[in-house]
């Protein structure tokens, strides 16, 4: 136990504390100037906004995929189910260059989107695509077990009471899987906010447009503006913390029936 606590403080607490201390290293004024710099704000907006959109897409698609994987038989289902974990297993840099190759103007997918006027690679859209990819398993994996354990009788009860299938799904099943889905949403969101490897290749990294916050940290570091880098890091942590708190509250509300 002593070992555990010691190790954790060495590996986690001290470094994080160092970041907070260092963010104020060049005085509060510098911190403020970084925090209000339009470039910082644009980067944070892209990281958080993109993560939110990606997590929302994953919320909807994740529930749909989990539903299909649990409920409907189709050939190759077990393989596809196993493949859901691919974003966990595939190194982010590999995912990054591959997604870029796929969505570039001459890529397998990009060549069909480009004529439609939809440019994905090297734009904020590309950032969202990469974030969807790396967050995809979370909602699926949190919703799947809940859906699999869902009692069939409860659905039948709704049907005997005259509910249509749509009413049963919307009023009975959805509220039951919502807490799990929100957990997955929160995890996908947290992952996407901080994501670096899979995003920077496809993002294009134009300041004010397609530059994500983690990249800005790297850039500040390369300029030896350590306190600036730390400041962006602190802002990211605070933002993520606030949003996760919000999601936790939402979750507590959605499963209030369990605790009362």
């Amino acid at each position: 136990m002593g070992v555990t606590v010691t190790y954790l403080s060495l590996i986690v607490l001290i470094p994080l504390a160092a970041m907070f201390v260092r963010s104020l290293g060049d005085g509060p004024a510098h911190f403020l100037s970084v925090a209000t710099d339009p470039r910082t704000l644009a980067a944070l907006r892209l990281s958080f906004g993109g993560a939110l959109i990606a997590a929302l897409i994953n919320l909807v698609m994740g529930m749909l995929v989990a539903w299909v994987l649990v409920r409907y038989p189709f050939p190759g289902k077990r393989l596809l189910d196993a493949a859901v974990d691919l974003p966990f297993a595939l190194p982010t840099a590999v995912a990054g260059i591959t997604l870029t190759a796929l969505f570039a103007g001459d890529g397998w997918i990009g060549q069909f989107l480009e004529p439609l006027g939809l440019q994905v690679a090297f734009t904020p859209v590309g950032v969202v695509v990469a974030m969807v990819f790396i967050g995809l398993p979370f909602v699926v994996r949190t919703v799947e077990p809940v859906l699999a354990d869902f009692e069939k009788e409860v659905e039948e009860a709704a049907a005997t009471l005259g509910a249509s299938r749509l009413q049963t799904v919307v009023r009975v099943i959805l509220p039951s899987i919502l807490p799990a889905a929100l957990t997955g949403f929160a995890l996908a969101f947290a992952r996407a906010v901080g994501e670096y490897g899979s995003v920077i290749f496809i993002a294009g990294n134009m300041p004010y447009q397609s530059e994500i916050a983690p990249l800005l940290i790297v850039i500040r570091l390369e300029e030896f503006d350590y306190s600036g880098a730390a400041a962006v890091g602190v802002l990211m942590l605070l933002g993520a913390f606030l949003l996760l708190l919000l999601i936790n509250l939402l979750q507590a509300w959605s499963r209030s029936y369990e605790r009362r």
Binding site: M1, V3, T4, V5, Y7, L8, I11, V12, L13, P15, A18, M19, V21, R22, L64, V65, W67, V68, Y72, L80, A82, A83, V84, D85, F88, A89, L90, P91, T92, A93, V94, A95, G96, I97, T98, L99, A101, L102, W108, F133, R141, T142, K152, A159, T160, R165, R191, G194, E195, Y196, L215, I217, V218, L221, F224, A229, G233, M236, L237, A240
Partner: protein, 293 residues
């Protein structure tokens, strides 16, 4: 009220069961899900290998046997060989302490263990630079001693340990908690020492979960990009891991070479996925508690 449908003996046009959707809806949803998964998961995986072999087999082999690439492979293996065992020991200690004992601050500890999952990898790298960099908090003291951590191998190892340490602990905590304390108390009451109890009772009970955790930990350790990128300094042949090498090649427009190295990592990911899936299919019940993460 309702017309008689069919004589009793005939097969009936069975109406839709109460818990099923219409054929059309099922078909539509399945199609959307399958297309989504194919497009987002399977297609990228195929693309890695196609891109890697686009310039031919010889180019592929050359890209991998190139000295800088070999150095990167060696470094990646070295880092994983250090980070995984260290986190294995830590994971066992932490999960054992958390699952078997009650102590103040336990929930804080659990939250801390999860922290690296919710922190950006770039921040995970940044903190080490801030701590040990030349103008960092501790750097100035270490530099005169000739100890170089950031932009060197130790930094890469530290950053990798940081981002990968939740994997094993998180797999083991629910497993150990579920198994409870009875079996161990029984062993102790039969005269087993603490170490014997751990080796003969605790460990066998969690071995598949442990393997599973090690697997995920290893995959992440070899594939980590963001954190390592920040602390490495990108010195070719010296502090370049495979993911960093991919980035350099890609930015130099050596696309085929980049994908060649990437295909090795993708293979690693695939193997991880396959073993993981096999473990889940075979020991699904044992691992069930840990499947969500």
């Amino acid at each position: 009220m309702i017309a008689t449908v069919t004589p009793a003996a005939n097969a009936l046009p069975a109406p839709r069961r109460a818990t099923r959707e219409g054929q059309g809806v099922r078909w539509l949803l399945t199609t959307i899900a399958v297309l989504f998964l194919l497009g987002f998961l399977v297609l990228p995986l195929i693309a890695v290998f196609v891109e890697a072999l686009r310039a031919g087999w010889d180019t592929y082999v050359a890209a991998i046997l190139e000295p800088d690439a070999l150095a990167a492979i060696r470094l990646t293996l070295l880092v994983a060989a250090i980070a995984v065992p260290v986190n294995l020991v830590f994971g066992l200690c932490a999960s054992w302490a958390i699952a078997k004992f009650d102590f103040p601050g336990k929930s804080v500890l659990i939250t801390l263990i999860d922290l690296p999952f919710s922190v950006s990898p770039v921040i995970s790298g940044l903190v080490w630079v801030l701590l040990f960099g030349t103008s960092g908090l501790l750097g100035p003291f270490l530099a005169p001693l000739g100890i170089k951590i950031v932009f060197a191998v130790p930094g890469i190892v530290l950053a990798t340990i940081f981002v990968t340490f939740p994997f094993i602990a998180r797999e083991l905590i629910p497993l150990m908690a579920e198994q409870g304390r009875e079996a161990e108390e029984a062993a102790v009451s039969l005269g087993a020492s603490g170490w014997q109890t751990f080796r003969l009772v605790t460990l066998p009970n969690v071995k598949w979960g442990l393997l599973y955790g090690v697997l995920l930990c290893n995959a992440r350790a070899m594939g980590e990009f963001g954190a390592v990128s920040v602390v490495s300094g990108h010195i070719r042949g010296l502090t370049n891991t495979m993911p960093l090498h991919i980035e350099i090649l890609y930015n130099e427009y050596q696309s085929a070479a980049a994908f060649a190295v990437a295909s090795l990592l993708a293979l690693l990911g695939l193997v991880t996925l396959v073993i993981k899936t096999v473990l889940e299919w075979r020991y699904g019940a044992e691992l069930a508690a840990t499947r969500r993460h």
